[in-house]
Symmetry: C2
Amino acid sequence: MRSFMSIIVLGTVALDTVKTPFGIRKRMLGGSAAHFSMSCRLFTSVNLVAIIGEDFPAEHIDFLRRKGVILTSLIKGNGRTFHWEGEYKGDLNTALTLNTELGVLSAFRPTVSEEQRKIKHIFLANVDPDIQRHLLLRMRSPSLVGLDSMNYWIHHKLRPLKRLLKMVDIYVANDQEAKSLSGEDNLIRAARCLRFYGPKMVLVKKGEHGVLFCSDKFIFSIPAYPTEKVVDPTGAGDTFAGAFMGYLSQKGKINADTIRRAIAYGTAAASFNIEDFGLKRTSRLTLKDLRGRMLRLRECVLF
Amino acid sequence: MRSFMSIIVLGTVALDTVKTPFGIRKRMLGGSAAHFSMSCRLFTSVNLVAIIGEDFPAEHIDFLRRKGVILTSLIKGNGRTFHWEGEYKGDLNTALTLNTELGVLSAFRPTVSEEQRKIKHIFLANVDPDIQRHLLLRMRSPSLVGLDSMNYWIHHKLRPLKRLLKMVDIYVANDQEAKSLSGEDNLIRAARCLRFYGPKMVLVKKGEHGVLFCSDKFIFSIPAYPTEKVVDPTGAGDTFAGAFMGYLSQKGKINADTIRRAIAYGTAAASFNIEDFGLKRTSRLTLKDLRGRMLRLRECVLF
Protein backbone atom coordinates (compact mmCIF):
# COMPACT_ATOMS: atom_id res chain seq x y z
CA MET A 1 0.00 0.00 0.00
CA ARG A 2 1.56 3.28 -1.13
CA SER A 3 0.42 5.71 1.51
CA PHE A 4 0.12 8.72 -0.83
CA MET A 5 -2.39 6.81 -2.91
CA SER A 6 -4.63 6.09 0.05
CA ILE A 7 -7.23 7.97 1.97
CA ILE A 8 -8.83 7.48 5.34
CA VAL A 9 -12.49 8.30 5.78
CA LEU A 10 -14.08 8.42 9.20
CA GLY A 11 -17.84 8.58 9.34
CA THR A 12 -20.99 6.55 9.61
CA VAL A 13 -22.02 3.30 8.01
CA ALA A 14 -25.74 3.29 8.50
CA LEU A 15 -29.00 1.66 7.66
CA ASP A 16 -31.17 4.32 6.02
CA THR A 17 -34.91 4.36 5.63
CA VAL A 18 -35.78 6.98 3.04
CA LYS A 19 -39.10 8.12 1.65
CA THR A 20 -39.26 10.34 -1.42
CA PRO A 21 -41.97 11.01 -4.04
CA PHE A 22 -40.38 8.09 -5.93
CA GLY A 23 -40.96 5.50 -3.23
CA ILE A 24 -39.66 4.20 0.05
CA ARG A 25 -36.58 2.09 0.84
CA LYS A 26 -36.15 0.49 4.24
CA ARG A 27 -32.87 -0.10 6.05
CA MET A 28 -30.71 0.16 2.95
CA LEU A 29 -26.95 0.65 3.20
CA GLY A 30 -26.07 4.31 3.78
CA GLY A 31 -24.13 6.65 6.03
CA SER A 32 -21.63 9.41 5.37
CA ALA A 33 -18.56 7.14 5.07
CA ALA A 34 -20.35 4.66 2.80
CA HIS A 35 -21.47 7.38 0.37
CA PHE A 36 -18.02 8.96 0.50
CA SER A 37 -16.34 5.65 -0.29
CA MET A 38 -18.51 4.93 -3.29
CA SER A 39 -17.14 7.90 -5.28
CA CYS A 40 -13.71 8.12 -3.69
CA ARG A 41 -12.85 4.50 -4.61
CA LEU A 42 -12.74 5.54 -8.28
CA PHE A 43 -9.62 7.61 -7.59
CA THR A 44 -7.74 6.04 -4.71
CA SER A 45 -7.87 3.22 -2.19
CA VAL A 46 -10.29 4.07 0.59
CA ASN A 47 -9.75 3.01 4.19
CA LEU A 48 -13.08 3.16 5.94
CA VAL A 49 -13.21 3.87 9.67
CA ALA A 50 -16.66 3.31 11.12
CA ILE A 51 -18.77 1.19 13.43
CA ILE A 52 -21.62 -1.17 12.65
CA GLY A 53 -23.95 -3.10 14.90
CA GLU A 54 -24.71 -6.77 15.37
CA ASP A 55 -27.72 -6.42 13.05
CA PHE A 56 -25.62 -5.25 10.12
CA PRO A 57 -26.25 -7.55 7.12
CA ALA A 58 -23.20 -9.52 5.98
CA GLU A 59 -24.15 -8.81 2.35
CA HIS A 60 -23.42 -5.09 2.90
CA ILE A 61 -19.93 -5.93 4.15
CA ASP A 62 -19.37 -8.15 1.10
CA PHE A 63 -20.66 -5.37 -1.11
CA LEU A 64 -18.25 -2.77 0.31
CA ARG A 65 -15.35 -5.20 0.03
CA ARG A 66 -16.23 -6.03 -3.58
CA LYS A 67 -16.14 -2.29 -4.31
CA GLY A 68 -12.54 -2.25 -3.11
CA VAL A 69 -13.14 -0.44 0.17
CA ILE A 70 -10.60 -1.42 2.82
CA LEU A 71 -12.53 -2.55 5.89
CA THR A 72 -9.81 -3.34 8.41
CA SER A 73 -11.04 -0.47 10.63
CA LEU A 74 -14.73 -1.13 10.25
CA ILE A 75 -15.51 -2.39 13.72
CA LYS A 76 -18.56 -4.18 15.03
CA GLY A 77 -20.04 -2.88 18.28
CA ASN A 78 -22.45 -4.36 20.76
CA GLY A 79 -25.87 -3.12 19.78
CA ARG A 80 -27.71 -1.98 16.72
CA THR A 81 -26.38 -0.21 13.64
CA PHE A 82 -26.95 3.53 13.36
CA HIS A 83 -30.33 4.01 11.70
CA TRP A 84 -31.58 7.19 10.03
CA GLU A 85 -35.08 7.65 8.77
CA GLY A 86 -35.99 10.62 6.62
CA GLU A 87 -38.37 11.98 4.07
CA TYR A 88 -38.08 14.36 1.13
CA LYS A 89 -40.97 16.27 -0.37
CA GLY A 90 -41.52 18.77 -3.18
CA ASP A 91 -38.26 19.79 -4.83
CA LEU A 92 -36.36 17.30 -2.61
CA ASN A 93 -33.99 19.98 -1.39
CA THR A 94 -34.44 19.41 2.32
CA ALA A 95 -34.64 16.23 4.30
CA LEU A 96 -37.13 15.91 7.11
CA THR A 97 -35.62 13.62 9.74
CA LEU A 98 -38.31 11.32 11.07
CA ASN A 99 -36.18 9.22 13.36
CA THR A 100 -32.54 8.72 14.41
CA GLU A 101 -31.31 5.68 16.35
CA LEU A 102 -27.67 6.15 17.25
CA GLY A 103 -27.19 2.55 18.37
CA VAL A 104 -23.50 1.58 18.44
CA LEU A 105 -22.54 5.07 17.28
CA SER A 106 -23.03 6.48 20.76
CA ALA A 107 -20.04 4.51 22.10
CA PHE A 108 -17.85 4.73 19.00
CA ARG A 109 -14.12 5.15 19.48
CA PRO A 110 -12.42 4.83 16.10
CA THR A 111 -9.28 2.74 15.77
CA VAL A 112 -6.81 2.52 12.92
CA SER A 113 -3.94 0.13 12.26
CA GLU A 114 -0.32 1.20 12.54
CA GLU A 115 -0.12 1.05 8.74
CA GLN A 116 -3.20 3.26 8.36
CA ARG A 117 -1.81 5.84 10.77
CA LYS A 118 0.75 6.72 8.08
CA ILE A 119 -1.91 7.71 5.56
CA LYS A 120 -1.65 11.41 4.78
CA HIS A 121 -5.06 12.20 3.34
CA ILE A 122 -7.96 12.15 5.77
CA PHE A 123 -11.60 12.97 5.52
CA LEU A 124 -13.60 13.38 8.69
CA ALA A 125 -17.17 12.87 7.52
CA ASN A 126 -20.05 13.82 9.73
CA VAL A 127 -19.88 12.31 13.23
CA ASP A 128 -19.42 13.84 16.68
CA PRO A 129 -16.49 16.34 16.57
CA ASP A 130 -14.91 14.62 19.57
CA ILE A 131 -14.79 11.34 17.63
CA GLN A 132 -13.36 13.18 14.62
CA ARG A 133 -10.65 14.73 16.77
CA HIS A 134 -9.88 11.40 18.42
CA LEU A 135 -9.07 9.88 15.05
CA LEU A 136 -7.16 12.87 13.77
CA LEU A 137 -4.86 12.82 16.81
CA ARG A 138 -4.06 9.20 16.02
CA MET A 139 -2.72 10.05 12.57
CA ARG A 140 1.06 10.41 12.27
CA SER A 141 1.54 13.11 9.67
CA PRO A 142 -1.62 14.18 7.89
CA SER A 143 -0.97 16.43 4.89
CA LEU A 144 -4.55 17.03 3.77
CA VAL A 145 -7.46 16.93 6.20
CA GLY A 146 -11.04 17.54 5.15
CA LEU A 147 -13.88 18.01 7.63
CA ASP A 148 -17.63 17.78 7.27
CA SER A 149 -20.06 18.40 10.10
CA MET A 150 -23.72 19.20 10.58
CA ASN A 151 -25.94 21.82 12.17
CA TYR A 152 -26.54 19.59 15.19
CA TRP A 153 -22.88 19.83 16.23
CA ILE A 154 -22.80 23.60 15.62
CA HIS A 155 -25.62 23.92 18.11
CA HIS A 156 -24.59 21.22 20.60
CA LYS A 157 -20.81 20.91 20.36
CA LEU A 158 -19.62 24.29 19.16
CA ARG A 159 -16.47 24.39 21.26
CA PRO A 160 -15.13 20.96 20.18
CA LEU A 161 -16.05 21.80 16.60
CA LYS A 162 -14.14 25.10 16.70
CA ARG A 163 -11.16 23.37 18.26
CA LEU A 164 -11.24 20.81 15.47
CA LEU A 165 -11.53 23.46 12.74
CA LYS A 166 -8.09 24.73 13.76
CA MET A 167 -6.63 21.33 12.82
CA VAL A 168 -8.08 20.88 9.33
CA ASP A 169 -7.24 22.16 5.84
CA ILE A 170 -10.65 22.03 4.19
CA TYR A 171 -14.00 22.59 5.83
CA VAL A 172 -16.95 21.30 3.85
CA ALA A 173 -20.28 22.75 4.96
CA ASN A 174 -23.70 23.23 3.48
CA ASP A 175 -25.08 26.76 3.09
CA GLN A 176 -27.15 26.65 6.26
CA GLU A 177 -24.23 25.41 8.34
CA ALA A 178 -21.91 28.02 6.84
CA LYS A 179 -24.34 30.82 7.68
CA SER A 180 -25.11 29.44 11.10
CA LEU A 181 -21.49 28.95 12.17
CA SER A 182 -20.24 32.25 10.77
CA GLY A 183 -23.26 34.30 11.78
CA GLU A 184 -23.24 35.84 8.29
CA ASP A 185 -26.30 35.99 6.03
CA ASN A 186 -24.27 36.58 2.88
CA LEU A 187 -22.77 33.31 1.73
CA ILE A 188 -19.60 34.81 0.26
CA ARG A 189 -18.91 36.60 3.53
CA ALA A 190 -19.80 33.43 5.45
CA ALA A 191 -17.30 31.37 3.45
CA ARG A 192 -14.56 33.97 3.84
CA CYS A 193 -15.27 34.31 7.53
CA LEU A 194 -15.06 30.57 8.20
CA ARG A 195 -11.43 30.57 7.10
CA PHE A 196 -10.62 32.52 10.23
CA TYR A 197 -11.67 29.50 12.30
CA GLY A 198 -8.67 27.65 10.91
CA PRO A 199 -9.20 25.90 7.57
CA LYS A 200 -7.33 27.49 4.66
CA MET A 201 -10.08 26.32 2.34
CA VAL A 202 -13.85 26.42 2.71
CA LEU A 203 -16.26 24.55 0.47
CA VAL A 204 -19.94 25.46 0.74
CA LYS A 205 -22.39 22.93 -0.72
CA LYS A 206 -25.60 24.55 -1.96
CA GLY A 207 -27.53 21.49 -3.13
CA GLU A 208 -29.25 22.16 -6.44
CA HIS A 209 -27.38 25.47 -6.66
CA GLY A 210 -23.93 23.93 -6.73
CA VAL A 211 -20.81 24.70 -4.78
CA LEU A 212 -18.85 27.71 -3.60
CA PHE A 213 -15.15 27.39 -2.79
CA CYS A 214 -13.15 30.01 -1.01
CA SER A 215 -9.45 30.19 -0.11
CA ASP A 216 -7.19 33.16 0.51
CA LYS A 217 -6.16 32.93 -3.14
CA PHE A 218 -9.36 32.53 -5.11
CA ILE A 219 -13.09 31.98 -5.24
CA PHE A 220 -14.50 29.18 -7.36
CA SER A 221 -18.19 28.64 -7.87
CA ILE A 222 -20.03 26.26 -10.15
CA PRO A 223 -23.67 25.21 -10.44
CA ALA A 224 -24.88 21.70 -9.83
CA TYR A 225 -24.89 19.38 -12.82
CA PRO A 226 -28.30 19.97 -14.46
CA THR A 227 -30.34 16.99 -13.36
CA GLU A 228 -33.99 16.50 -14.11
CA LYS A 229 -34.36 13.29 -12.15
CA VAL A 230 -33.81 13.65 -8.42
CA VAL A 231 -34.87 10.43 -6.71
CA ASP A 232 -32.99 10.51 -3.40
CA PRO A 233 -30.51 13.24 -2.44
CA THR A 234 -29.32 11.43 0.71
CA GLY A 235 -25.53 11.33 0.76
CA ALA A 236 -25.03 13.73 -2.17
CA GLY A 237 -22.70 15.87 -0.08
CA ASP A 238 -20.64 12.87 1.00
CA THR A 239 -20.49 11.58 -2.56
CA PHE A 240 -19.28 15.04 -3.59
CA ALA A 241 -16.61 15.01 -0.89
CA GLY A 242 -15.52 11.49 -1.87
CA ALA A 243 -14.76 12.40 -5.47
CA PHE A 244 -13.30 15.77 -4.43
CA MET A 245 -10.88 14.25 -1.92
CA GLY A 246 -10.22 11.24 -4.10
CA TYR A 247 -9.19 13.34 -7.08
CA LEU A 248 -6.90 15.53 -4.95
CA SER A 249 -5.42 12.47 -3.30
CA GLN A 250 -4.74 10.83 -6.66
CA LYS A 251 -3.16 13.98 -8.10
CA GLY A 252 -1.04 14.34 -4.98
CA LYS A 253 -0.76 18.11 -5.28
CA ILE A 254 -3.10 20.81 -4.09
CA ASN A 255 -3.22 23.90 -6.25
CA ALA A 256 -5.86 26.07 -7.90
CA ASP A 257 -6.08 23.79 -10.94
CA THR A 258 -6.43 20.52 -9.03
CA ILE A 259 -8.92 22.05 -6.59
CA ARG A 260 -11.13 23.39 -9.39
CA ARG A 261 -11.02 20.05 -11.16
CA ALA A 262 -11.68 18.15 -7.93
CA ILE A 263 -14.78 20.26 -7.27
CA ALA A 264 -16.03 19.56 -10.79
CA TYR A 265 -15.55 15.81 -10.26
CA GLY A 266 -17.32 16.07 -6.92
CA THR A 267 -20.23 17.89 -8.55
CA ALA A 268 -20.48 15.24 -11.25
CA ALA A 269 -20.37 12.44 -8.66
CA ALA A 270 -23.15 14.02 -6.58
CA SER A 271 -25.36 14.23 -9.66
CA PHE A 272 -25.19 10.45 -10.06
CA ASN A 273 -25.85 9.83 -6.38
CA ILE A 274 -29.21 11.62 -6.42
CA GLU A 275 -30.52 9.68 -9.43
CA ASP A 276 -31.41 6.61 -7.43
CA PHE A 277 -31.92 5.45 -3.85
CA GLY A 278 -28.96 5.04 -1.54
CA LEU A 279 -25.81 3.75 -3.21
CA LYS A 280 -27.65 2.13 -6.11
CA ARG A 281 -26.36 4.44 -8.83
CA THR A 282 -22.90 5.22 -7.44
CA SER A 283 -22.12 1.56 -6.78
CA ARG A 284 -21.95 0.99 -10.56
CA LEU A 285 -20.31 4.33 -11.34
CA THR A 286 -17.17 4.33 -13.48
CA LEU A 287 -14.49 6.94 -13.90
CA LYS A 288 -15.61 7.24 -17.50
CA ASP A 289 -19.17 8.14 -16.45
CA LEU A 290 -17.78 10.68 -14.05
CA ARG A 291 -15.42 12.20 -16.57
CA GLY A 292 -18.24 12.46 -19.11
CA ARG A 293 -20.38 14.57 -16.79
CA MET A 294 -17.40 16.61 -15.65
CA LEU A 295 -16.80 17.58 -19.27
CA ARG A 296 -20.47 18.33 -19.92
CA LEU A 297 -20.54 20.45 -16.78
CA ARG A 298 -17.63 22.41 -18.18
CA GLU A 299 -19.68 23.16 -21.27
CA CYS A 300 -22.55 24.33 -19.07
CA VAL A 301 -20.42 27.12 -17.61
CA LEU A 302 -18.29 27.97 -20.63
CA PHE A 303 -18.35 31.54 -21.96
CA MET B 1 -30.75 55.89 -36.05
CA ARG B 2 -29.67 52.50 -37.37
CA SER B 3 -32.49 50.26 -36.33
CA PHE B 4 -30.32 47.17 -35.72
CA MET B 5 -28.35 49.09 -33.14
CA SER B 6 -31.43 50.05 -31.15
CA ILE B 7 -33.64 48.38 -28.64
CA ILE B 8 -37.12 49.09 -27.37
CA VAL B 9 -37.87 48.46 -23.72
CA LEU B 10 -41.41 48.59 -22.43
CA GLY B 11 -41.84 48.61 -18.68
CA THR B 12 -42.29 50.79 -15.66
CA VAL B 13 -40.63 54.02 -14.65
CA ALA B 14 -41.42 54.23 -10.99
CA LEU B 15 -40.77 55.97 -7.75
CA ASP B 16 -39.45 53.36 -5.33
CA THR B 17 -39.37 53.47 -1.57
CA VAL B 18 -36.99 50.79 -0.36
CA LYS B 19 -35.94 49.74 3.10
CA THR B 20 -32.99 47.40 3.61
CA PRO B 21 -30.65 46.75 6.55
CA PHE B 22 -28.48 49.50 5.02
CA GLY B 23 -31.11 52.24 5.24
CA ILE B 24 -34.20 53.62 3.62
CA ARG B 25 -34.63 55.60 0.40
CA LYS B 26 -37.90 57.34 -0.38
CA ARG B 27 -39.42 57.84 -3.83
CA MET B 28 -36.17 57.34 -5.70
CA LEU B 29 -36.11 56.70 -9.45
CA GLY B 30 -36.79 53.02 -10.21
CA GLY B 31 -38.98 50.68 -12.24
CA SER B 32 -38.25 47.78 -14.55
CA ALA B 33 -37.60 49.88 -17.67
CA ALA B 34 -35.37 52.34 -15.82
CA HIS B 35 -33.17 49.58 -14.38
CA PHE B 36 -33.09 47.84 -17.75
CA SER B 37 -32.01 51.02 -19.51
CA MET B 38 -29.17 51.71 -17.12
CA SER B 39 -27.23 48.61 -18.18
CA CYS B 40 -28.54 48.29 -21.73
CA ARG B 41 -27.37 51.82 -22.67
CA LEU B 42 -23.76 50.63 -22.42
CA PHE B 43 -24.30 48.43 -25.50
CA THR B 44 -26.92 50.04 -27.69
CA SER B 45 -29.33 52.98 -27.88
CA VAL B 46 -32.31 52.36 -25.67
CA ASN B 47 -35.82 53.55 -26.54
CA LEU B 48 -37.83 53.63 -23.36
CA VAL B 49 -41.58 53.10 -23.52
CA ALA B 50 -43.28 53.88 -20.23
CA ILE B 51 -45.65 56.20 -18.44
CA ILE B 52 -45.00 58.67 -15.63
CA GLY B 53 -47.35 60.82 -13.59
CA GLU B 54 -47.68 64.54 -13.04
CA ASP B 55 -45.65 64.25 -9.84
CA PHE B 56 -42.61 62.82 -11.62
CA PRO B 57 -39.57 65.03 -10.86
CA ALA B 58 -38.09 66.79 -13.89
CA GLU B 59 -34.60 65.94 -12.62
CA HIS B 60 -35.25 62.24 -13.21
CA ILE B 61 -36.16 62.95 -16.83
CA ASP B 62 -32.99 65.01 -17.22
CA PHE B 63 -31.02 62.19 -15.64
CA LEU B 64 -32.36 59.55 -18.03
CA ARG B 65 -31.73 61.83 -21.01
CA ARG B 66 -28.18 62.53 -19.87
CA LYS B 67 -27.63 58.78 -19.72
CA GLY B 68 -28.52 58.61 -23.42
CA VAL B 69 -31.92 56.97 -22.99
CA ILE B 70 -34.31 57.97 -25.81
CA LEU B 71 -37.45 59.30 -24.17
CA THR B 72 -39.72 60.08 -27.12
CA SER B 73 -42.15 57.38 -25.96
CA LEU B 74 -42.05 58.18 -22.28
CA ILE B 75 -45.51 59.64 -21.84
CA LYS B 76 -46.97 61.64 -19.00
CA GLY B 77 -50.40 60.54 -17.77
CA ASN B 78 -52.99 62.28 -15.62
CA GLY B 79 -52.35 61.14 -12.10
CA ARG B 80 -49.50 59.95 -9.96
CA THR B 81 -46.41 57.98 -10.94
CA PHE B 82 -46.37 54.26 -10.18
CA HIS B 83 -45.01 53.89 -6.65
CA TRP B 84 -43.61 50.69 -5.15
CA GLU B 85 -42.67 50.33 -1.51
CA GLY B 86 -40.76 47.32 -0.31
CA GLU B 87 -38.47 45.96 2.34
CA TYR B 88 -35.63 43.45 2.40
CA LYS B 89 -34.45 41.60 5.49
CA GLY B 90 -31.82 39.01 6.41
CA ASP B 91 -29.98 37.78 3.33
CA LEU B 92 -31.91 40.27 1.15
CA ASN B 93 -33.05 37.53 -1.19
CA THR B 94 -36.76 38.29 -1.09
CA ALA B 95 -38.59 41.58 -1.21
CA LEU B 96 -41.57 42.13 1.03
CA THR B 97 -43.96 44.46 -0.82
CA LEU B 98 -45.38 46.94 1.66
CA ASN B 99 -47.40 49.02 -0.76
CA THR B 100 -48.11 49.41 -4.47
CA GLU B 101 -49.81 52.48 -5.99
CA LEU B 102 -50.42 51.87 -9.67
CA GLY B 103 -51.34 55.50 -10.41
CA VAL B 104 -51.05 56.27 -14.12
CA LEU B 105 -49.97 52.69 -14.82
CA SER B 106 -53.57 51.46 -14.56
CA ALA B 107 -54.55 53.34 -17.75
CA PHE B 108 -51.29 52.87 -19.64
CA ARG B 109 -51.47 52.28 -23.38
CA PRO B 110 -47.96 52.39 -24.81
CA THR B 111 -47.29 54.30 -28.00
CA VAL B 112 -44.23 54.29 -30.24
CA SER B 113 -43.22 56.51 -33.14
CA GLU B 114 -43.23 55.25 -36.72
CA GLU B 115 -39.45 55.23 -36.61
CA GLN B 116 -39.43 53.18 -33.40
CA ARG B 117 -41.84 50.64 -34.90
CA LYS B 118 -38.99 49.51 -37.17
CA ILE B 119 -36.75 48.53 -34.26
CA LYS B 120 -36.13 44.80 -34.28
CA HIS B 121 -35.03 44.12 -30.73
CA ILE B 122 -37.67 44.41 -28.06
CA PHE B 123 -37.77 43.76 -24.37
CA LEU B 124 -41.11 43.59 -22.62
CA ALA B 125 -40.21 44.22 -19.01
CA ASN B 126 -42.70 43.49 -16.29
CA VAL B 127 -46.10 45.16 -16.82
CA ASP B 128 -49.58 43.76 -17.51
CA PRO B 129 -49.32 41.11 -20.30
CA ASP B 130 -52.10 42.90 -22.20
CA ILE B 131 -50.01 46.07 -22.30
CA GLN B 132 -46.98 44.03 -23.38
CA ARG B 133 -48.97 42.45 -26.20
CA HIS B 134 -50.40 45.81 -27.25
CA LEU B 135 -46.89 47.14 -27.83
CA LEU B 136 -45.60 44.00 -29.50
CA LEU B 137 -48.43 44.08 -32.04
CA ARG B 138 -47.42 47.64 -32.94
CA MET B 139 -43.91 46.56 -33.94
CA ARG B 140 -43.32 46.00 -37.67
CA SER B 141 -40.81 43.16 -37.81
CA PRO B 142 -39.36 42.18 -34.46
CA SER B 143 -36.44 39.76 -34.75
CA LEU B 144 -35.64 39.29 -31.07
CA VAL B 145 -38.29 39.63 -28.39
CA GLY B 146 -37.57 39.15 -24.70
CA LEU B 147 -40.29 38.93 -22.07
CA ASP B 148 -40.24 39.33 -18.32
CA SER B 149 -43.27 38.93 -16.11
CA MET B 150 -44.10 38.34 -12.46
CA ASN B 151 -45.98 35.90 -10.28
CA TYR B 152 -48.94 38.28 -10.03
CA TRP B 153 -49.70 37.91 -13.77
CA ILE B 154 -49.26 34.13 -13.62
CA HIS B 155 -51.99 34.06 -11.00
CA HIS B 156 -54.24 36.80 -12.35
CA LYS B 157 -53.68 36.92 -16.12
CA LEU B 158 -52.56 33.44 -17.05
CA ARG B 159 -54.40 33.27 -20.37
CA PRO B 160 -53.05 36.59 -21.76
CA LEU B 161 -49.59 35.65 -20.50
CA LYS B 162 -49.69 32.26 -22.25
CA ARG B 163 -50.91 33.91 -25.45
CA LEU B 164 -48.02 36.35 -25.24
CA LEU B 165 -45.46 33.60 -24.60
CA LYS B 166 -46.24 32.22 -28.07
CA MET B 167 -45.03 35.49 -29.57
CA VAL B 168 -41.65 35.86 -27.86
CA ASP B 169 -38.17 34.38 -28.34
CA ILE B 170 -36.80 34.60 -24.81
CA TYR B 171 -38.73 34.29 -21.59
CA VAL B 172 -36.95 35.62 -18.54
CA ALA B 173 -38.39 34.37 -15.25
CA ASN B 174 -37.22 34.01 -11.71
CA ASP B 175 -37.11 30.55 -10.15
CA GLN B 176 -40.44 30.87 -8.36
CA GLU B 177 -42.20 32.06 -11.50
CA ALA B 178 -40.66 29.27 -13.56
CA LYS B 179 -41.81 26.65 -11.08
CA SER B 180 -45.21 28.22 -10.66
CA LEU B 181 -45.96 28.58 -14.39
CA SER B 182 -44.63 25.14 -15.36
CA GLY B 183 -45.97 23.29 -12.35
CA GLU B 184 -42.57 21.60 -12.01
CA ASP B 185 -40.58 21.50 -8.77
CA ASN B 186 -37.31 20.67 -10.51
CA LEU B 187 -35.88 23.83 -12.04
CA ILE B 188 -34.22 22.11 -15.00
CA ARG B 189 -37.51 20.44 -15.89
CA ALA B 190 -39.35 23.71 -15.30
CA ALA B 191 -37.06 25.57 -17.71
CA ARG B 192 -37.34 22.86 -20.37
CA CYS B 193 -41.09 22.72 -19.96
CA LEU B 194 -41.55 26.48 -20.39
CA ARG B 195 -40.16 26.25 -23.90
CA PHE B 196 -43.31 24.40 -24.88
CA TYR B 197 -45.30 27.55 -24.14
CA GLY B 198 -43.59 29.19 -27.10
CA PRO B 199 -40.24 30.82 -26.38
CA LYS B 200 -37.27 29.01 -27.91
CA MET B 201 -35.12 30.21 -25.03
CA VAL B 202 -35.80 30.31 -21.31
CA LEU B 203 -33.69 32.19 -18.80
CA VAL B 204 -34.28 31.47 -15.13
CA LYS B 205 -32.91 34.04 -12.68
CA LYS B 206 -32.02 32.53 -9.31
CA GLY B 207 -30.87 35.63 -7.42
CA GLU B 208 -27.75 34.89 -5.39
CA HIS B 209 -27.52 31.49 -7.10
CA GLY B 210 -27.10 32.87 -10.61
CA VAL B 211 -28.83 32.03 -13.85
CA LEU B 212 -29.98 28.98 -15.76
CA PHE B 213 -30.48 29.17 -19.52
CA CYS B 214 -32.21 26.53 -21.55
CA SER B 215 -32.82 26.20 -25.30
CA ASP B 216 -33.39 23.17 -27.48
CA LYS B 217 -29.65 23.17 -28.19
CA PHE B 218 -27.94 23.65 -24.86
CA ILE B 219 -28.09 24.37 -21.16
CA PHE B 220 -25.97 27.15 -19.70
CA SER B 221 -25.73 27.84 -16.01
CA ILE B 222 -23.49 30.20 -14.10
CA PRO B 223 -23.45 31.40 -10.50
CA ALA B 224 -23.98 35.00 -9.49
CA TYR B 225 -20.89 37.17 -9.33
CA PRO B 226 -19.56 36.67 -5.78
CA THR B 227 -20.68 39.80 -3.97
CA GLU B 228 -20.20 40.44 -0.29
CA LYS B 229 -22.05 43.73 -0.22
CA VAL B 230 -25.73 43.54 -1.07
CA VAL B 231 -27.37 46.87 -0.30
CA ASP B 232 -30.52 46.85 -2.44
CA PRO B 233 -31.39 44.04 -4.87
CA THR B 234 -34.34 45.93 -6.42
CA GLY B 235 -34.08 45.84 -10.19
CA ALA B 236 -31.24 43.30 -10.34
CA GLY B 237 -33.24 41.14 -12.74
CA ASP B 238 -34.00 44.09 -15.01
CA THR B 239 -30.38 45.20 -14.92
CA PHE B 240 -29.43 41.65 -15.87
CA ALA B 241 -31.90 41.69 -18.78
CA GLY B 242 -30.66 45.09 -19.93
CA ALA B 243 -27.06 43.99 -20.34
CA PHE B 244 -28.14 40.61 -21.73
CA MET B 245 -30.37 42.10 -24.41
CA GLY B 246 -28.00 45.00 -25.03
CA TYR B 247 -25.07 42.72 -25.71
CA LEU B 248 -27.10 40.51 -28.08
CA SER B 249 -28.45 43.57 -29.83
CA GLN B 250 -24.99 45.02 -30.29
CA LYS B 251 -23.58 41.74 -31.61
CA GLY B 252 -26.53 41.42 -33.96
CA LYS B 253 -26.38 37.63 -34.05
CA ILE B 254 -27.90 35.10 -31.70
CA ASN B 255 -25.90 31.93 -31.27
CA ALA B 256 -24.59 29.83 -28.39
CA ASP B 257 -21.46 31.97 -28.03
CA THR B 258 -23.23 35.34 -27.97
CA ILE B 259 -25.93 34.04 -25.63
CA ARG B 260 -23.38 32.69 -23.14
CA ARG B 261 -21.44 35.93 -23.24
CA ALA B 262 -24.64 37.99 -22.95
CA ILE B 263 -25.64 36.07 -19.82
CA ALA B 264 -22.21 36.67 -18.32
CA TYR B 265 -22.50 40.40 -18.99
CA GLY B 266 -25.99 40.38 -17.51
CA THR B 267 -24.69 38.63 -14.40
CA ALA B 268 -21.90 41.17 -14.03
CA ALA B 269 -24.34 44.07 -14.48
CA ALA B 270 -26.70 42.73 -11.82
CA SER B 271 -23.83 42.48 -9.36
CA PHE B 272 -23.24 46.23 -9.65
CA ASN B 273 -26.92 47.04 -9.32
CA ILE B 274 -27.24 45.42 -5.91
CA GLU B 275 -24.26 47.27 -4.44
CA ASP B 276 -26.18 50.47 -3.85
CA PHE B 277 -29.73 51.81 -3.68
CA GLY B 278 -31.76 52.17 -6.87
CA LEU B 279 -29.77 53.25 -9.91
CA LYS B 280 -26.98 54.81 -7.92
CA ARG B 281 -24.27 52.34 -8.87
CA THR B 282 -25.42 51.45 -12.39
CA SER B 283 -25.81 55.11 -13.39
CA ARG B 284 -22.03 55.48 -13.26
CA LEU B 285 -21.25 52.06 -14.67
CA THR B 286 -18.88 51.79 -17.61
CA LEU B 287 -18.38 49.04 -20.15
CA LYS B 288 -14.90 48.64 -18.73
CA ASP B 289 -16.29 47.96 -15.22
CA LEU B 290 -18.68 45.46 -16.69
CA ARG B 291 -16.06 43.72 -18.76
CA GLY B 292 -13.75 43.49 -15.75
CA ARG B 293 -16.34 41.59 -13.72
CA MET B 294 -17.34 39.46 -16.69
CA LEU B 295 -13.73 38.29 -16.95
CA ARG B 296 -13.42 37.70 -13.19
CA LEU B 297 -16.64 35.72 -13.29
CA ARG B 298 -15.13 33.56 -16.00
CA GLU B 299 -12.24 32.80 -13.66
CA CYS B 300 -14.72 31.85 -10.92
CA VAL B 301 -16.13 29.03 -13.06
CA LEU B 302 -12.99 27.95 -14.87
CA PHE B 303 -11.86 24.35 -14.54
